[in-house]
Symmetry: D3
Subunit: 202 residues, 6 copies
């Protein structure tokens, strides 16, 4: 059985840096982490590994929440996670592709779309509007210096307004930060993410 | 429920080109396809889509089998599928990453390794020998013109002999062909592959 | 006289997005901006342009301060600004190269080093330790997926410890975010920055 | 005299791998090779070097013949060899550029076109239709992930039908395989190819 | 004081190669250099470092003068220096970005434009005509093989004639030569250039 | 017969720009061109096309001769032409690859080496010293910003002195200029070059 096989391996480190015990963390961070654990059933490693630096942890998640939990604009939660998955794949960030791919599956209720978007968004089962959104996000990710009027016009042609464009840009930029951090510290995705959203809940 | 949701969508084409009915295929191709169906429980779309060109179909699978089913050399079946998954990801080939990622999970009995290798093989739970193998395969995939003595030496340092090096090269080269064909004709992976090998069989 | 000439031109927008009046901002943001104005003699446009989104503004500057104002570790203020200048040049971010180049000149008391680092850090008047720091930062900026043990070892060989490596990484990653935002919203550097630190104060 | 000079050099290996004697080969392969020798006056090294692996040899040449010897579709023999020459140059494959450049000269009866296409097809004496064909082939060679509807439309605008598009794709993909194999095993072109088709036959 | 600080450092070499004394130079070269010194108030290091090779020096400056001092065509002196600054930045040539950026500031009487163009010409305070000119120059610099009819048409649409196009091309090409030489020999810009044109003359 | 076939085509322009009649040229240029014609038996198109701009023509050929006709240093004439051929191939310059490939064949008396070097110098029949020379030249051509001490050391390890390194650099840089000019003006190689040096003179 494959799980057993995996279990035979030595426990893999989730970061190149020290990972604090939850009980030793500052109150606000410990509380935030326990709330996530309560909701998700486990603590995503991004919380544990970034807790090594409390001040940066607080800023990171404040930024994250401002972008990913905001309730204005036309981007759905699935749209947001789709941007994260597609651009994190361009940055070859294992943690973000796996963790946000899981969230994308859950929010979109499309079990295949995360793998599609991670490999090649041009072949994914997405709408033309989502394709335009990802084309733009990939350009922000890989070649932001060249973004100009014509890119704004393309998005507006799909019904995005300027605030949406800021959202797409900021999400891409924020996860570009996250991707680089995760790549360098060797942030390891929790095993739970790999299967999440692939099979119907019972 | 997500499967239901997916089912609501119009049936997606599996190729930009005509896909023949199995019953209309030449005998040898029909027999080969039925044998695969018997074993796998479904017909992988690579068989159906390439059957549009019988002569090329025969050569393609003869080449495939010569490389992937050979029983000499030190590469395991998991090693072979790992090469395919890693290099197909570099070529952004949805079909091959999904289908051969499934085979990699099955042969390796490691449910996580395919996603790891597809995103970034440097972060995967693989042996140093496998890492050297993939470093070489990625170089063959992206920059074969620069392969030289020092690359051979690195592989030999991990116990690969020259026949193994040919195997790694030929598998990478063959799936580079497959990736380009699949990308251009829009070959769509069967839904069965996405989940295969992720959960223990009962 | 050149300043006059420049003044003849229509006032250039500092962002593609609305820029709030300072008086209309939330108290904490207004206070923060007025404090900067008090100290610098002007308000850097990054404050005005990002204030369009107060929640993101707060997270952005909390992150910024955690990385750039921290008083532990071996990176000097000049080292930090040098990282920002070099990597922002790779991302072709006009705002950050100009603004942080100014800060680099001031902290380093080297009026030439910002231009050197922005064009080609290999030709700059910096120490071998700084060169190694920038080599690493540029790799994090452009190819973070490939960072590995050997990169850590190179930095340790120059006396950086692991916390310094996190600092270099996080600064690079954070300004990669900033660069993408600035490039897309068209953040315009204040004219004051261009000359700052180039001539001795009287 | 230059030939003499060249002859003074030690005989160059035509592959990093063992090259079988023709007499030791399986009957079908030996027969095929002797037929080529009969027709061409020499044995192209691709036959000798790939004969090291008989099963792969058979599949390789079956695939080759299915693509290059087919008598349907609108691609001429010269068109096919032009695709091979142009894309092999992008992959820096010495064997294929030299050998297929020779065939291109012969089939096209244009002694200059192979060198033109190998260096820069935009400067070659080819028709607009051939230019569109090579533009597409180069995209399949270097960036197949991005091929989409607009590429199909461009080719149709030049009178290519979908079967022609498959042909261009498959030829490019197949020789991408060949290029990688040749680059890694160090396949050396026969000297005969270099001059072939450059001077009128007497 | 920063100048003092800089002065504490050991004198930096201006070339990896021997730099001749002005008095030891051939008459024509010495005369040319003294004339420049008379006019500029100092001898730009490009004169001193290239004087190591008198024959190449003469050809280099003859070419330079033919392109940069010609008084026909529609390119202004500022346009010419803008091309040099933008393309030298793409080639990461410290000497040329700094020295020609200074000339650009002087000729354009725009103290900010050189830094803008060096970082990202798409964000610079330039006319649409100048943007088209720099788009073309950057293409000649980085991808001259792809220049074709459509590029000529774009420039003509901005009022450039064919002789202007030759000028843009030749200036870009000539400074591409200069950039490579300067990068390899380690040509160091004179400190005078860094400040030149940034402040109004008194 | 292929020559006949070629002749059926309309005469191809050798430049996008006006090509002066030899009789209309300034005396010194006409004399220089007639001397070349006398020696070579034809006028290479680089002379005719660049004569459109006499001042630049004079500087171009003065530079060319200073680098290519100098009789000091350890580079042979074949070495020089080999550098031109290899780097012009990287710049996809049809004129220079064809014309200097011809000269390389003649000076080296190796009829195959120009095609080898143009496609992939790592597979060419050249000495380790020549391979190091071309590795360096290609780096100067494509990435001169990164050239540093270790590159100088590598060349010195093959017996090149610093003056040789300047020669390799300057030849590469000069032909980078030539490649860009030729690509943009559409300089067409004379047909004579294609066959030159391929067959023994009688």
């Amino acid at each position: 059985m494959s799980q057993a096989k995996q279990a035979d391996q030595p426990q893999q480190a989730i970061s190149r840096f020290p990972v604090p015990e939850i009980k030793d963390l500052p109150d606000d961070i410990r509380t935030a982490i326990l709330a996530v654990q309560e909701k998700a059933g486990f603590v995503p490693n991004v919380f544990l590994t970034l807790a090594h630096r409390p001040a940066e942890f607080r800023a990171f998640f404040a930024y994250h929440d401002a972008l990913m939990l905001k309730d204005t604009g036309s981007l759905t939660k699935a749209d947001r996670e789709m941007i994260v998955t597609a651009t994190s794949a361009k940055n070859n960030c294992l943690y973000c592709v796996v963790a946000h791919g899981a969230l994308l599956r859950i929010y979109s209720k499309q079990p295949l779309v995360a793998d599609q978007v991670a490999v090649n968004h041009l072949k994914a089962d997405i709408t033309p509007r989502q394709k335009a959104m990802l084309d733009f996000a990939v350009k922000v990710c890989l070649d932001s210096q060249s973004v100009g009027d014509e890119d704004y016009a393309l998005l507006r042609g799909h019904g995005f307004d300027d605030e949406d464009i800021w959202d797409i840009t900021a999400i891409t930029a924020f996860f570009g930060l996250s991707n680089r951090l995760a790549n360098v510290i060797g942030m390891r995705p929790n095993e739970e993410f790999f299967l999440m959203g692939r099979v119907p809940r019972q």
